[in-house]
């Protein structure tokens, strides 16, 4: 009995050791980003490099503002990500509902087709898609990113899985017998039931679109129309490499996301957990 206790203590402390080490390693790059963002280039270039925050926080960020329209590009990213997120969540839940609960001919095949499109590398149609955007006159217009972004195969797949498991068939049947139209069913039954799924998919899509940069780079030509990712990337193009400035931009572009995540992390993790379990 005694040795069992010791064993458990050893197991416990090694577990904590492991988790603490991993957590620190996981957080370190954030800390380090901050260190770089607050130090001058001279300090950064010293050997050994700076490991504690310096005093150049403001200067470095002013340099960022001198190099890219930082706030404008953040706003662009926010507009793009928010509109795509709302659109995707609605369209995908609608389609997911259809695939999960409405029997119609060809449903299986059509669903597999959507899954199949997930395998297509987005680079495959990159060049021709650009032609379409120019034909539509959407160049340097956020629409060029938003509209194609509404096409989201994973969202449909995920919503289908969620709805299939979260909404019992019995309710559907009951509603149907009551003469409830499919859209009413979606509006009155599905949406209230899958709000957590909205949050999860919403956050996943938001993160994904927020981080996207190849496509915005191709279609958003005006620098004032860039998204933050494209803008950050162009910091690396400067011919005088100022790591303090580059990481200052990267840091301040990351901070809002960290804040949002920290506020909603419980909801996020809870809903992603529910979703994963149910699919």
């Amino acid at each position: 009995m005694y040795s069992e206790k010791v064993k458990q203590k050893v197991a416990k402390s090694s577990l904590y050791g492991f988790l603490i080490t991993v957590s620190l390693a996981s957080l370190f790059p954030f800390y380090w980003m901050f260190v770089m963002a607050t130090n001058s280039n001279e300090t950064i270039n010293q050997t050994p490099p700076a490991l504690i925050p310096g005093s150049e926080l403001v200067t470095n960020f002013q340099n960022v503002l001198g190099s890219i329209p930082f706030f404008r590009t953040m706003l662009n990213s926010l507009i793009v990500s928010t509109s795509i997120t709302l659109g995707v969540v609605l369209l995908c839940s609608l389609a997911g509902f259809a695939f999960a609960k409405i029997p119609f001919p060809g449903r299986g095949i059509l669903f597999v087709l959507i899954l199949g499109t997930m395998m297509i590398p987005p680079q495959l149609g990159l060049i021709p898609t650009y032609f379409i955007i120019t034909e539509l006159g959407w160049l340097s217009d956020l629409k060029a990113v938003i509209v194609p972004g509404l096409m989201h195969a994973f969202g449909i797949f995920w919503m289908r899985q969620y709805i299939a498991s979260a909404v019992p068939d019995e309710i559907m049947e009951a509603a149907r017998i009551d003469g409830c139209s499919n859209f009413r069913m979606y509006w009155n039954i599905i949406i209230p039931t899958i709000l957590p799924a909205f949050a999860t998919l919403g956050i996943i899509v938001f993160m994904q679109i927020w981080g996207d940069y190849l496509w915005p780079l191709v279609v958003l030509k005006d620098q004032s129309m860039h998204t933050i990712q494209v803008a950050l990337r162009s910091l690396m193009d400067d011919r005088v490499k100022d790591y303090g400035m580059i990481l200052s931009g990267t840091f301040w572009a990351t901070v809002p996301l960290i804040i949002i995540f920290l506020l909603f992390n419980r909801m996020f993790i809870k809903s992603i957990t529910d979703g994963a379990v149910k699919s």
């Binding site: 577990l15 904590y16 988790l19 991993v22 620190l24 996981s26 790059p29 954030f30 270039n45 010293q46 050997t47 050994p48 490099p49 369209l91 995908c92 609608l94 259809a98 409405i102 029997p103 119609f104 059509l110 297509i120 590398p121 987005p122 680079q123 495959l124 149609g125 990159l126 060049i127 379409i132 194609p148 096409m151 989201h152 195969a153 449909i156 019995e170 309710i171 049947e173 009951a174 149907r176 017998i177 009551d178 003469g179 139209s181 499919n182 009155n188 940069y213 190849l214 950050l232 990337r233 690396m236 990481l247 990267t250 990351t254 996301l257 960290i258 419980r266 957990t273 994963a276 379990v277």
Partner: protein
């Protein structure tokens, strides 16, 4: 199943009876028929936005890419039909094979240990011994919040070629010479794999953790009763029950790994170098630095086929994990 269930009635208290909607008194057969029709209409209607968007921004561009793959075209001049020549060029190009090799090696380096680590972490987090689970979970998950561009920039600076670069300083403590990371065969791969590892390990941990928490506790209790060791419990209960989650993560990680692009592009500069060039970067370089749209399109098609083949292979193998178990019935 199809009996109306009174207990659900509260859902429809506010329903309005629309004209034309058949009521319950009609014969079941007719009602079913029109229901079928209605289902068909709304089913197609609900999924149509995706297919419309896909037709314009997915299918058409893809078909056009297939068309382009048989032409020599610089984007400005005339298009010349060259048959399969673009594919011949690619398959005879050592750099293409190198990019394929890099993609697979970096994919394995960034993904396999990462999924294992995620499994381990999830297991540790799931342990009844650990308090403050949510705090650890938060710390491990936080990197996922960072965009790939930001991760690539941060790690490009961490793996700087400078003597004062972070990793170079650390290995300097052990008396090693600074490494030119962007030009070193393994240095580049380690740096890129680290970026992938760091950003995704938390995400996968959360998914595994969710999976573990869905396993009924009494399964373990029963196993313990039967005298199963911790290891046996993991092999015979945890892994089989996690199968769908593992499938999901392997599937997404594989596709992600095959599409590797931003990390090597930012780490090694626009053109890339042989040590880090990935298939997508190879494609990008042909299309956007050199404007060889024919070979770029051919590469895109090869990549597409590759993704299908590799996904099938790893689905097959992952499916066999715990294939002989008796527990994971459903």
């Amino acid at each position: 199943m199809s009996q109306p269930q009174p207990k659900h009635e509260h859902y429809y208290d506010d329903k309005q009876v629309e004209p034309g909607i058949p009521n319950q008194k009609e014969s079941p057969k007719r009602r079913q028929l029109s229901q079928k029709k209605r289902n068909m209409i709304s089913g197609y209607l609900f999924i149509s936005p995706f297919y419309l968007l896909f037709a314009v921004f997915g299918l058409f561009p893809i078909l056009f890419s297939f068309y382009l793959a048989f032409f020599k075209w610089d984007g400005l001049g005339e298009m010349t039909f060259v048959g399969l020549n673009n594919f011949v060029i690619i398959f005879n190009d050592p750099l293409f094979w190198k990019s394929l090799y890099n993609t697979i090696v970096i994919g394995l380096m960034g993904t396999a240990p990462q999924l294992l680590a995620a499994l381990l972490l999830a297991f540790a987090l799931n342990s009844a011994l650990v308090k403050g689970q949510s705090l650890f979970r938060l710390a491990i998950f936080l990197p996922y919040v960072t965009s790939i561009v930001a991760v690539a920039i941060v790690f490009s600076v961490i793996f700087s070629n400078q003597e004062s670069g972070l990793v170079n300083s650390i290995i300097g403590l052990f008396g090693m010479d600074p490494i030119t990371w962007t030009r070193s065969e393994w240095g580049t791969k380690i740096a890129i794999a680290t970026m992938v590892f760091w950003r995704w390990v938390g995400y996968n941990t959360i998914i595994y953790l969710a999976g573990m928490q869905s396993i009924p506790k009494d399964l373990y209790e029963a196993a313990k009763m039967d005298g199963a060791s911790l290891r046996q419990q993991i092999i015979h209960i945890t892994i089989p029950m996690l199968k769908p989650f593992i499938l999901f993560t392997v599937f997404t990680a594989t596709i992600g790994a095959l599409q590797l692009f931003a990390e090597p592009q930012i780490f090694q500069g626009r053109g890339g170098r042989p040590e880090g060039i990935s298939v997508v970067l190879y494609l990008y370089r042909d299309a956007f630095s050199s404007n060889f749209f024919g070979t770029a399109s051919a590469t895109a098609i090869v990549l597409f086929v590759l993704i299908i083949i590799i996904s099938t292979i790893n689905m097959y193998f992952t499916n066999r994990i715990g294939g002989s178990d008796k527990v994971g019935a459903k």
